[in-house]
Amino acid sequence: MSALSLSVTEALWRRELTRYLRDPSQIFGGLSRTVLWLIILGFGLGATLREIEGYSYAQYVLPGVALLNVLFASLQSGFQLVYDRQHGLLRQILISPAPSLSVTLGKILGGATVAVAQGLIPIAFAPVVGVQISLLALAGAMAVLFAMGVGLTGLGVLIALRRGSIDNFGSISNGVIQPLYFLSGSIFPLKGIVGGIGFLDIPPALRDQLRMHGINAIGGGWVVELPGWLDMLVRLNPMTYSLDLLRWCLLDFHQLQLATNLAVTAGFGLVTTVLAIRALDRARQR
């Protein structure tokens, strides 16, 4: 068998999809996170924090909730490899002649596809928070979700191969998912004009006119900026750039250079994939 077998990759990609479709709890998790973060937190906190750069709070956190679902789906898919390796089908796959490159690619592409499906759940709620998304924007968002899924599933595979066991998913959630989520600018901007309580609503027509002049908020808004140490942590997190790219696709708003966002998103996916392939190859005959 050559170094790359598309047949192996496709078979393992299909396996990930089949597992996803036969696991309603994962879809339920994606829905419940959407309701909690987008609807309850978005509208709840949005009642106090009226605007961020001209967007309602629920609109601002929409891409972040998609990121949260991608984080859970991708890393769960990667970490599942520990159980699969100890007690599941992967033991049989690893003693087959299938090339490590193809096995890892199948796993990562499958995880990324599931991540797209999970990331689309909050995006389906976009009209509820007043965001209309064109087909082009949706296609762009799906591409970003997929790229995020590749990078994060690769990261999950890497962590899984470095750990002897994963006793509970809670430690992973607290140690990996939440830092990546909270330090990505998902629920607060790096720097921006925030509109507060008691200020007049801006009529939509006037809001559009002001935006054309580069003004996103007026009348009682104030500029917020993260403390230096927090700003640095946020900028060290690759998810910050992917999320900014996703926010640009969904809201036509971004805070970082788009070229940097693209480079970091693609680079993170490439690096974790290459490292995951090497790690799996080494772990295969230990």
């Binding site: 100890q86 796959i93 087959s96 299938a98 470095r162 002897g164 295969r284």
Partner: protein, 262 residues
């Protein structure tokens, strides 16, 4: 010879799981490795199936070196692990399709190979149901059908009847006997003396060393005093009566991931 190993050894940290194991297996021959818990049986199988890299010695399967030519070795082997290695969310048909892809069966031949395997395992009616809820016997039949699908030359069975009821054990053995009659070479581990006695030769392994190997009669004569000595008596003579719970580490480690992949 379908399998040859010379001075095979593997340590985990300071623990020597397999010290020095040498034996050979001819085409069509069956060999049972028996030994107390932690004797090194599963580690030996781990090395021979390319899941573990030996520290010492060398081995070939169908002429291919287990360390340097792992892909060729893997193509020659059909393996049954101690515990089922299945994805319970997949159906038998999906499981077999996946295996066909992993072993690069030609696309045009895959559907027929899957159907043949389903028939062999007696799972045609349940072919599209998720494996969750299948009995241990059904899962074992599926795993054996899968292990044979790519036409291996050596079947490696790690305690194949573990957890099966008497009916399941009888059925599995009938299938294994049928394969042996067709000339399949079989290497297995077991704790059941009656199962070991069904094989052409028996190897007794303890503390990582192969203490004795031969036919049942040869072992009985050499270590039991006469040709009809009880195999269990021979086993206890060679390995002692002390409990081996303390040595139960290495087989578990076969299934553990390294803490560092580098």
């Amino acid at each position: 010879m379908i399998l040859e190993c010379h001075g095979l050894g593997r340590s985990f940290g300071g623990t020597e799981a397999v010290a020095d194991v040498s034996f050979a297996l001819a085409e069509g021959e069956s060999l049972a490795l028996i030994g107390p818990n932690g004797a090194g049986k599963s580690t030996t199988l781990g090395m021979l199936t390319t899941a573990l890299r030996p520290d010492r010695g060398r081995a070939t399967v169908a002429g291919a070196d287990i360390a340097a030519q792992a892909a060729q070795v893997r193509a020659s082997l059909g393996v049954l692990f101690q515990e089922p290695a299945l994805d319970e969310r997949l159906s038998p048909r999906q499981t077999l399709r996946l295996h066909a892809a992993m072993h690069a069966l030609p696309r045009h031949a895959r559907a027929a190979a899957v159907e043949k395997a389903l028939d062999w395992a007696g799972l045609r009616e349940q072919a599209d149901r998720p494996l969750r809820g299948f009995s241990g016997g059904m899962k074992r039949r599926l795993e054996l059908a899968r292990a044979l699908m790519h036409g291996p030359r050596l079947l490696v069975l790690d305690e194949p009847t573990l957890g099966l009821d008497p009916q399941g054990r009888l059925d599995l053995w009938a299938r294994i006997d049928g394969l042996r009659a067709e000339g399949m070479a079989v290497l297995m581990t077991t704790h059941a003396m009656a199962e070991a006695e069904r094989c052409d030769r028996i190897g007794i392994i303890d503390k990582g060393r192969l203490l004795a190997i031969g036919t049942r009669a040869e072992l009985a004569l050499a270590h039991g005093g006469h040709a009809h000595a009880d195999l269990e008596q021979v086993f206890l003579t060679l390995t002692g009566r002390a409990l081996r719970d303390a040595f139960a580490g290495p087989p578990a480690r076969v299934l553990r991931l390294p803490r560092r992949s580098a």
